[in-house]
């Protein structure tokens, strides 16, 4: 209303105004945009705003200088014990982490065989690349390799067929987190999709099976499932068969994530308008065709934030294997603290482990944002 009252006379009555239908697009006046304007409005809008801005700048400054000082400037990077560190500087004692680095990475994997773990990591990156980036040249062939990768990795890590066998009891540190995390992520998505579709099925048996599976998995804490994997599962397999504990853990973590994944994807499926199903049906597409070509591409795109959320949660939950006596990167860190030479360095250990997880999860989060933007088709 005020717009009409104040602006109408301006354009119509002023001399040099434009004739109707000839008004060009003009740039906005400089007082309503630009960085100075932004700062004036958002940071120094009133006395209270100004005070808060200055206070925040002060806190940021002191926090950053403290952190940079502790982590880099006053930090000791070499030494054989905590005393050596303290003799040089009073900041972080990274020498501790450096000293234990291979333990953090490989756990108790036998030293002469550790090249196999390195090779598995490198091959993992090559296997993930074609899945993440669809513009990769020769993607079709690369994807076949990605499908074969789990078998190659299992062979490299466990051995047999010409390689020396390594018991999975010796897996530990970061490699244990990555083995569990990657397996869980790779298998929970397809299982979750099948469960979500099954939950919507017209066949009552399929629906009941899927719903009960999802509800049971979601209703039980992961730690309980891991205990079940460690202790109880051996009651269900025939006596004499030795079902590897790591495999049992992998199955439990994967099933646990699948239950959540199914619900995330169901949310995406529900957002697909009925018209999409009808258009696919009317075209004569079969059920699996319409799911694969029409419904799932859209539902999964909508579900990306939830899917990645589940991935990140699963990845961090890999540290829970500590409850059944396996030492992942956090477990190794914890047990390293018992060494009398290095006592009192828990901050360094936890900061290191936290940074490791943060970098991994942040990458997943950024990738998902990039993917969402890429898949946006303007609707």
């Amino acid at each position: 209303m005020t717009l009409g009252e104040t602006e109408a006379p301006l354009t119509v009555t002023e001399d040099g105004g434009y004739l109707p239908g000839t008004h060009p697009d003009l740039p906005p006046p400089s007082s309503v945009h630009g960085p100075i304007h932004w700062a004036r409005v958002n940071l120094f809008g009133s006395i209270a705003d100004t005070a808060l801005t200055l206070l925040a700048v002060y806190f940021l400054y002191s926090a950053i200088t403290f952190l940079v000082g502790w982590m880099f400037v006053d930090a000791a990077f070499t030494g054989e014990s905590r005393k050596d560190c303290r003799a040089v500087a009073d900041g972080a004692c990274w020498a501790f982490i450096g000293n234990r680095f291979s333990l953090f990475i490989y756990g108790f994997y036998p030293e002469p065989e550790r090249w196999r773990v390195d090779l598995t990591f490198v091959l993992l990156i090559l296997a993930i690349a074609p899945i993440l980036f669809d513009r990769m040249p020769q993607r079709g062939k690369a994807l076949i390799y990605s499908c074969l990768y789990p078998f190659i990795a299992a062979w490299l890590l466990v051995g047999g067929f010409g390689l020396e066998e390594v018991s999975t009891d010796q897996f530990g540190g970061l490699m244990l987190n990555i083995v569990i995390g990657v397996t869980g992520i790779a298998f929970s998505l397809p299982i979750g999709i099948v469960l979500a579709l099954g939950r919507q099925s017209d066949l009552p048996i399929v629906r009941i099976l899927c719903v009960s599976f999802i509800e049971i998995i979601r209703g039980v804490p992961l730690i309980t499932l891991l205990f079940v994997a460690a202790v109880m599962l051996s009651y269900f397999v025939p006596p004499g068969t030795n079902f590897d504990l790591l495999v049992r853990m992998l199955i439990m973590v994967t099933l646990f994530a699948s239950g959540y994944m199914a619900e995330v994807i169901r949310g995406g499926l529900q957002a697909i308008p009925n018209g999409q199903y009808e258009a696919a049906d009317a075209m004569g597409l079969k059920y699996w065709q319409s799911m694969r070509l029409i419904v799932l591409p859209q539902a999964l795109k909508i579900s990306i934030p939830g899917i990645v959320n589940t991935f990140i949660a699963l990845y961090k939950d890999t540290t829970l294997v500590i409850v059944i006596g396996r030492l992942d990167i956090l477990g190794i860190g914890n047990s390293s603290l018992a060494d009398t030479k290095w006592q009192g360095l828990s901050t360094e250990v936890y900061v290191f482990v936290a940074l490791f997880f943060f970098v991994n999860c942040f990458c997943m989060s950024r990738y998902s944002l990039w993917l969402e933007k890429k898949l946006h088709t303007g609707h």
Partner: protein
């Protein structure tokens, strides 16, 4: 497969002895939504190349009627025979009929994650097993026919409503259907876009396509339709050729409906 086809053929023979070139036969058909009796004793025969406009107040069952013809809705009583095949719960029959019947929806229902070209080639490639290149040529042919070949590589979300509906028509035509159903194709469009869609439909009618159009576009009905059907409360109240229908409506409810839609 062979069984179905031979069954289809015998059914076709039986039907062709009844009405010479009826492509759709609906006999004593009823449908309920739960307790609600939405279609009541529908009897309707449609000849090859016939163009029919169905009108009536909202909730009268006209959309449901045409959605029964390609089994997007299931009827509970009576018979629907399309192209010589009776619609039953047999999925093979449903697939056979859906291959021959195209439908255009009120809200276009294009696939937003695929380009216009991919929307058009999806059916030919996956349902008719057409090679990709051939399917793309076919798609471009129909995009030219609906006059938007230049939009082929855009996504539906980047097009105007009128353009989207024309893409939807082209998508149905790519399946080379014998019958085209239109479920209020212009109701969701801005006024200035209605004409471009109706023009495409008029051209399609000129090619001899069998068409059933649920619409309130009375101008379209007058120029194109062979027959106008008026439905109310789940029943076919009156049907006639358009001239008679508009100038000389017989039933009171038809008169009232026409006076309501024509007087503004």
């Amino acid at each position: 497969m062979a069984d179905t086809e031979s069954l289809a053929e015998t059914t076709a023979q039986i039907e062709s002895s009844k009405g010479e070139d009826d492509i759709i036969q609906i006999v004593a058909m009823h449908k309920w939504f739960g307790e609600f009796h939405v279609l009541k004793d529908i009897n309707l025969s449609i000849k090859v190349q016939e163009r029919i406009v169905v009108c009536g107040p909202s909730g009268s069952g006209k959309s449901t009627l045409i959605r029964c013809i390609n089994r997007l809705e299931e009827h509970q009583k009576g018979q629907i025979i399309v192209n010589g095949i009776e619609l039953t719960n047999d999925l093979k029959n449903i697939d056979l009929i859906r291959r021959e019947v195209g439908i255009v929806f009120q809200h276009f229902n294009l696939f937003p994650h695929l380009t216009v070209l991919e929307n058009l080639t999806l059916g030919p490639i996956w349902v008719r097993n057409t090679p990709k290149k051939e399917a793309e040529e076919l798609a471009m042919k129909y995009l030219e026919r609906v006059k938007i070949p230049e939009q082929a590589l855009k996504f539906p979300g980047q097009l105007s409503g009128g353009q989207q509906q024309r893409v939807a028509i082209a998508r149905s035509l790519c399946m080379n259907p014998k019958i085209m159903l239109f479920d209020e194709p212009t109701s969701a469009l801005d006024p200035e876009m209605i004409k471009e869609v109706l023009d495409v439909m008029v051209e399609l009618a000129d090619t001899g396509m069998t068409m059933i159009v649920v619409s309130h576009e009375m101008g379209f009905a007058k120029t194109v339709a062979d027959r106008v059907i008026f439905m109310d409360a789940g029943e076919i109240i009156e049907q006639n050729e358009p001239h008679e229908f508009f100038d000389n409506p017989r039933h009171d409810r038809t008169k009232m409906f026409l006076s309501q839609i024509l007087h503004h």
